[in-house]
């Protein structure tokens, strides 16, 4: 069934910045103008336009897979120098599971539907598939744009390779060490959760941030999942309109008595469901996706706090080691140097962390504002369309 879906590769997607006004700096402009769906793999075309001399050409495109993005993200996470920065969250894997499952169910239920009904359901599913596709392109694009608009990340060597290297990155990716490193990194994270909540915080700024981020994360996670459920219910209602419309059509076709209004009603429901479908998908983009994105971003901010907490722990350990060394009068200079390094690292982390977290809040507030406004405007627009359709039909029925 799923093989009948393509081709979507011909579509040109306009660059959209859902969240923040990224991609403003003309010195490095990145977008994903199109993507290809081959069986289970999505291939993104990453297009770069730059005035920077560090790149070989002013404009170029490469083809990248999702795994390449993950590789890039992981290398950034593991770079020591970036410990004091919020690493933009990795884009989630393209997930076509939901429309694929629905397509399968549709295939099974084909016999019980009229040809028209089936065609409409298929159309609806294809639209859903397309929506998932657009979402995943968007989320990968934003990831890159976050990097390109960051003063530090934009200069990262691996980032440059990602953008420029005109061949397959899979060789680099399959570096076993890096993969293992990634696995280890995730394991440690859970231990950090305990660490971060346990550490006594002297700095008021970080204390507040810690409290806030931990609480906010759990709330936004919950809100994301509830928003998801709500959007899905909306889609179900829109789908029901399809069945109602189809049956009304059959009824009006077979009825000998001139029940003209059944036909109009069928038509109305068909139009309504398109609007309802848009309501559902707009809500998903502006609300659910917004929440989901910032949930991940907050996780990234939390990761920064972990790293800082770890640095603090390292520093405290170094202190203890120094004291021990002084007691024993052995390797004092070494211990002192180590302690200094730890302190420096911690201080750098704290300083850059503070900057990052402050700008993060600003970014988040802006993004919420933009999306909430857009969502409200779209809801109003769709409700007005619905009303016009409904009132038109009521007029028609009353006048007969």
């Amino acid at each position: 069934m799923s093989s009948s879906f393509l081709p979507l590769s011909e579509e040109m997607f306009q660059a959209r910045s859902v969240s923040v006004d990224l991609n403003n700096d003309a010195s490095l402009l990145i977008d994903i103008p199109d993507a290809l769906c081959e069986r289970d793999k999505v291939k993104f075309t990453v297009h770069t336009k730059t005035t920077l001399g560090t790149f070989q050409k002013p404009e170029f495109s490469v083809s990248r897979q999702h795994e390449d993005f993950i590789w890039l993200h992981d290398t950034l996470v593991e770079t020591e120098e970036y410990a004091g920065l919020i690493i933009p969250p990795a884009p989630p894997k393209p997930d076509f599971e939901s429309p694929r499952e629905k397509m399968h169910k549709l295939g099974e239920g084909e016999a019980s539907m009229t040809k028209e009904e089936y065609a409409k359901m298929k159309q609806e599913l294809e639209a859903e598939y397309l929506a998932v596709f657009k979402k995943t392109v968007q989320v990968h694009e934003i990831f890159l744009q976050r990097l390109s608009s960051h003063p530090v990340f934009s200069k990262d060597r691996n980032f440059q390779i990602f953008l420029e290297y005109d061949q397959d990155l899979s060789v680099r990716r399959k570096n076993a060490k890096e993969m293992f490193g990634g696995f280890f990194k995730n394991m440690v994270k859970t231990a950090d959760e305990v660490l971060i909540s346990g550490t006594k915080e002297v700095d008021e700024f970080f204390d507040q941030e810690k409290t806030f981020l931990l609480d906010y994360f759990s709330k936004i996670k919950d809100a994301t999942s509830k928003a998801e459920k709500m959007t899905r219910s909306h889609k179900n209602v829109a789908d029901d309109y399809i069945h109602v419309s189809a049956t009304l059509n059959s009824l009006s076709a077979e009825d000998s008595t001139p029940l003209k209004h059944l036909e109009k009603l069928a038509d109305l429901f068909e139009k309504l469901r398109k609007v309802e479908g848009r309501v559902a998908s707009d809500q998903e983009l502006k609300l659910t996706e917004l929440l989901r994105y910032y949930m991940r971003d907050i996780q990234a901010a939390k990761d920064l706090l972990y790293r800082r907490a770890r640095a603090l722990a390292d520093y405290e350990n170094a202190n203890k080691a120094l004291d021990k060394a002084r007691l024993k009068s052995k390797d004092v200079a070494q211990a002192q140097q180590h302690q200094q390094q730890c302190l420096q690292k911690f201080d750098t982390l704290s300083e850059s962390g503070k900057k990052e977290l402050t700008s993060f809040k600003g970014r988040r507030v802006l993004a919420f504002r933009k999306n909430l406004i857009e969502m409200a405007e779209l809801e109003i627009k769709h409700a007005k369309s619905n009303m016009a359709l409904l009132q038109g039909c009521v007029e028609l029925l009353k006048s007969n």
């Binding site: 507040q208 906010y216 928003a227 219910s233 919420f368 029925l397």
Partner: protein, 508 residues
Amino acid sequence: MAAERDTPPLGSAAAGLADFREPEDGEDLFVSTASTLESSPSSPEPASLQVEDVSANSNGPKTAEILIDDDQDDLFAEATEEVSLDSPEREPILSDGPSPAITPVTPTALISNRIEPKVIGVPSMFERSLDEVEEEAGGDLFDINISVSDPEKVGKTSLTIFNQSEFSVKRRFSDFLGLHSKLASKYMHIGYIVPPAPEKSIVGMTKVKVGKEDLSSTEFVEKRRSALERYLMRTVKHPTLIQDPDVIQFLESSELPRAVSTQALSGAGILRMVNKAADAVNKMTIKMNESDAWFEEKQQQFENLDQQLRKLHASVEALVCHRKELSVNTASFARSAAMLGNSEDHTALSRALSQLAEVEEKIDQLHQEQAYADFYLFSELLGDYVRLITAVKGVFDQRMKTWSKWQDAQVMLQKKREAEAKLHLANKPDKLQQAKDEIKEWEGKVQQGERDFEQISKTIRKEVGRFEKERVKDFKVVIIKYLESLVHTQQQLIKYWEAFLPEAKAIA
């Protein structure tokens, strides 16, 4: 909802209907009824029972006319004598039982089939009607106010079947079933489409139980009440049925004899079951020579209609279910958004998120109300018509049975003739007379059979014509109402989001 709020009392529907002469003039009656209905400026809404408070009757009841035909039922004449016209006076006479039955105007006024926009009040409505139900010991009693305003004078022999302009009675659910069973046994076999009564168990019609509060019992009561109302409306709108003394008694009498025959294990109940089974078998074995193409066409039509309506009904039921789910999920999201707003440390954003939560909460209510409309307007209409079509199909079957009876009589007549001929040859004069008598008897039966068949065919044609007209009207009215409910929802959505927009823009 912008549905017409004016409440033309049932009477205006019954008004035209009440202007009749003897049933024999059935056809004229039908026409005049139709024209009365058509010309009335505020057309009655068939799907909703218009309720008028006894007290809040600002129009003032017109005085009932009591020109009664002497040929009428004795029961009827009696009733006239007993009851006076004057509204205040009549109450003590009618209310044999405890006065709460008649006086609680407010609760009964609430039991209206209209779906108020502030359906948020619905749960409290239900509570009260539930209390009413609980007050009466055992059984489900419903207070129903049917207002019947006066018939208009049409011709000199206009008569009023109903004595007063307004009255209310208490009826048990089993009373309704009893009424239906009586009507069915009287009218169906001669071709009248008797509206089916609501089924005994309406449980399981909706698949999702709203998880927030257990509204399932109150929903059940409301569902049942609404169904009974629609059933009665359809019954009284039928020009022949409204004249039936059982119907009149049902609507008027303060006390009804307990309808025992509706009890499942009663003798009558078992007899009904046996008859139903016998019918089913007969249907399979009767092969009728259809001489009239009209009947064949119509039967096929109704078969198709039946299928399509069932399918549509199922789709709408799914819609109700999903909309209820949407309501639940929206409420759940609203709560979550409120928590998020509380947690948010940016003041303006925090406020906006709380506002968002409030908007979503209101939208949840909207979805709930819309789900009620989906159900009580759209879904129930379809369900009613699915059952009605079963009744229509039943009437066609009755015609087949009548034909079969006629044929059987012809066969029997033939046999008798042959027997007589044999006796003639055998020269047995004493038995001959008997045989001749039997022939006469069966000739009569054949004639009767033919008459019956022609009569039922005629009646069915008329009934089907009426049914189709009613159906078109009915659907149109209810669909318009339903669409208006959808319009209302959209209007509210616009309102809520337009109020929210400045809040979102205020985030600095």
